[in-house]
């Protein structure tokens, strides 16, 4: 059941324009991520959760869904959000806790997503709670006879939580249209996978639920997209949930508060940079001739400009009003 899928770098269901659009999303994610880190180091942003190394998987799995599907991302999923249309401006408004920020009005830390319009369900910090919500969301959709899917994500370390088990158990009993997306970057903060589980592939955990588990190269955009699309189709057909594992590496420390030199070697980190998902995608597009070097430079410049503008906007934007903190504890 747990097999590593690779891809030939193409897929029938994505046109060339789609692919370029997604490449652009990946570039935008990377640029936002880099600049957030800089702002943090400059003392301007209290806290950053980077996603460097996860971009192909995140943009890939988000793209594998349909409009109207529900998404329950986790804190590292900036790429998922950007693929769904979340702007650089919003990312920086959130980083700085400004009033106009759409996910929480500046109430939540950065990386705590939610976007009603796009069916992105609000998330919290305690890991793995969202996995149960996805099951309930899917139950409700199915009960109404809708063919939407609920896709939730979490890190491999978070699969050790009890809620993971309860959620996969529920979803498999009721054959619900849920995708459990595990972004396996090999670390839970400093804890290596071997201290989080005794199995090689997170995908093997699916066996306990009679559910397919699929391990995918998470640095390969096309593989991630395709695996998600197939699992979503399966779910829509009524054949039940799938556990998707995307294997990649977290290229930066866990967060701006972390220092990963205490627990992993620079050699290990450097080695993984060769599999940088953005470079991989870029090289594929250049080699395939879908993108020229000039277009690529132009694209990168465009994205930089977008981010510059977003930062300026967010820095100038006002904080929430103090009195607004008392709102929305209950319905008015």
């Amino acid at each position: 059941m747990a097999k590593t899928k690779t891809s030939a770098g193409t897929t029938s269901s994505l046109g060339p324009d789609d692919v370029l659009r997604m490449y652009r999303s990946m570039l935008l994610v990377r640029t936002i991520d880099e600049r957030m880190w800089v702002l943090n180091r400059a003392g301007k942003a209290p806290f950053v959760i980077p996603c460097r190394g996860h971009e192909a998987a995140q943009v890939g799995w988000a793209a594998g869904l349909r409009q109207g599907d529900f998404v329950l991302p986790y804190y590292r999923d900036l790429g998922v959000m950007v693929a769904l249309g979340y702007s650089a401006k919003q990312a920086f408004l959130s980083l700085l806790g400004k009033a106009e920020e759409l996910t929480s009005g500046g109430r939540q830390m950065p990386g705590h997503y939610g976007w009603r319009e796009r069916h992105v369900i609000t998330g919290s910090s305690p890991v793995t709670t969202q996995v149960l919500h996805a099951v309930g969301v899917a139950y409700a959709s199915r009960m109404r006879g809708e063919d939407t899917v609920a896709a939730c994500s979490l890190g491999e370390g978070s699969t050790s939580q009890g809620d993971f088990h309860e959620a996969l158990n529920w979803a498999s009993i009721y054959k619900l249209p849920v995708l459990f997306v595990v972004e396996n970057n090999g670390y839970a903060i400093s804890t290596t996978q071997s201290r989080e589980m005794a199995v090689q592939d997170v995908a093997e955990r699916a066996l306990a639920y009679g559910m397919p588990g699929v391990a995918v190269d998470g640095t390969d955009f096309f593989a991630c997209y395709e695996a998600t699309r197939q699992a979503a189709e399966r779910a829509r057909r009524g054949d039940g949930p799938t556990l998707l594992e995307f294997k990649m590496y977290r290229l930066l420390p866990h967060s701006s508060d972390d220092d990963d030199r205490t627990y992993r070697s620079r050699d290990e980190v450097e080695a993984w940079k060769d599999r940088d998902p953005i470079l991989r995608m870029q090289n594929h597009l250049l080699e395939a001739g879908s993108l020229t070097a000039e277009d690529n430079d132009a694209l990168r410049a465009e994205v930089q400009a977008e981010v510059d503008e977003a930062i300026a906007y967010a820095e100038a934007a006002p904080y929430p009003l103090v009195e607004d903190m008392f709102k929305h504890v209950y319905a008015d």
Partner: protein, 327 residues
């Protein structure tokens, strides 16, 4: 009006709300064919089908977590926890999720759901089938907490809870399920969340209680009346929002406050009631505030004499009121 058991009020509320609103679903351990271990949901699976009356796999975090997801996607779940003692595995889903979703999303999402659980002792349930857990949830803004003491309130409050747009913890004293009988209006009505019920007016002492203890307090007041002590009984009925106004007004009338609950003494609901009075009506008091509660032991023992000693009852309430009035 027909005289019914308290649990009939619960069942009727669920049956009528499920008929009225097809978004309402019930999930919990053994709520289907078995009708729940106390039979609160008897007949509901036959009436509304297995899709809406769901025998959940064993696991309270799962039940509440799935219910939250349902509520986020247009359903109105009633999650039954088989015994209040077993709500703790769901604590994270209740406190971190249900309570905070509206707030953290700046009003974009909300969780209209009810978590029902039988609580309380006096049924030889021992340490783990007797606990009172309401106090934990009173400290969590975003949640509401209701505890009915009469069959009529059970029905009307539960209906209000189901229609409420926010998560409501609804605790039902299990000993009162078939012990407490009373008239229940036919058809549709609600009892507002956030309003205490003045059970009986008095002028010498106010007794604040809820659930089975409100019933006991009323009996105590009857006995006290024979002795010429006029006790006012206030059934708090909803602990969150707490009807602080009603509490302060009652103290202003009687100048003495006795608070009764079965939950452990320290940091039970009585602490908040006492603190409310100490902040808002201190100079009205003619005697120290008194809390008559379960003792600070981990939970109620199974054996008969110790269980009896744990529970407050009409005699102990009357005695505490007498002592207060003698001060």
């Amino acid at each position: 009006m027909a005289v019914k058991n308290l649990i009939d009020g619960i069942r009727e509320a669920m049956r009528e709300e499920m008929a009225r609103d097809e978004r309402v679903v019930l999930l919990g351990e053994d709520v289907g064919k078995r009708g729940g271990v106390f039979r609160a949901s008897e007949g509901l699976v036959d009436a509304y089908g297995e899709q809406r009356v769901i025998d959940a796999p064993l696991g309270e975090s799962g039940i509440v977590g799935v219910a939250i997801g349902m509520a986020l996607n247009g359903l109105v779940p009633i999650a039954e926890i088989q015994f209040a003692d077993f709500i703790h595995p769901a604590f994270n889903q209740i406190v971190s999720e249900a309570a905070k979703i509206r707030y953290r999303s700046n009003n974009d999402f909300h969780v209209p759901m009810v978590i029902r659980a039988p609580f309380g002792g006096g049924v030889h349930g021992g340490l783990y089938h007797s606990q009172s857990v309401e106090a934990f949830f009173m400290h969590v803004p975003g949640l509401k907490v209701c505890i009915p003491s009469t069959p009529a309130d059970a029905k009307g409050l539960l209906k209000a809870a189901i229609r409420d747009e926010d998560p409501v913890l609804f605790f039902e004293h299990k000993r009162s399920y078939r012990l407490v009988r009373g008239e229940v209006p036919e058809g549709d009505y609600t009892v507002p969340i956030g309003k205490a019920r003045l059970v009986r007016e008095g002028k010498d002492v106010s007794i604040f209680a809820y659930g089975l203890m409100a019933v006991h307090a009323e009996q105590a007041a009857l006995a006290l009346a024979q002795e010429g002590i006029s006790a006012e009984v206030v059934d708090l009925r909803t602990l969150v929002p707490l009807d602080r106004e009603a509490i302060l007004q009652s103290v202003a009338r009687t100048h003495r406050a006795l608070i009764v609950h079965e939950a452990n003494y320290t940091m039970g609901a009585g602490a908040e009631v006492a603190a409310t009075i100490a902040e808002g009506a201190l100079f009205e008091l003619d005697a120290p505030i008194r809390r008559l509660t379960g003792p600070d032991i981990p939970a109620m023992p199974f054996n008969t004499p110790q269980e009896e000693h744990f529970m407050p009852n009409p005699e102990k309430i009357a005695q505490a009121a007498r002592e207060l009035c003698a001060l």
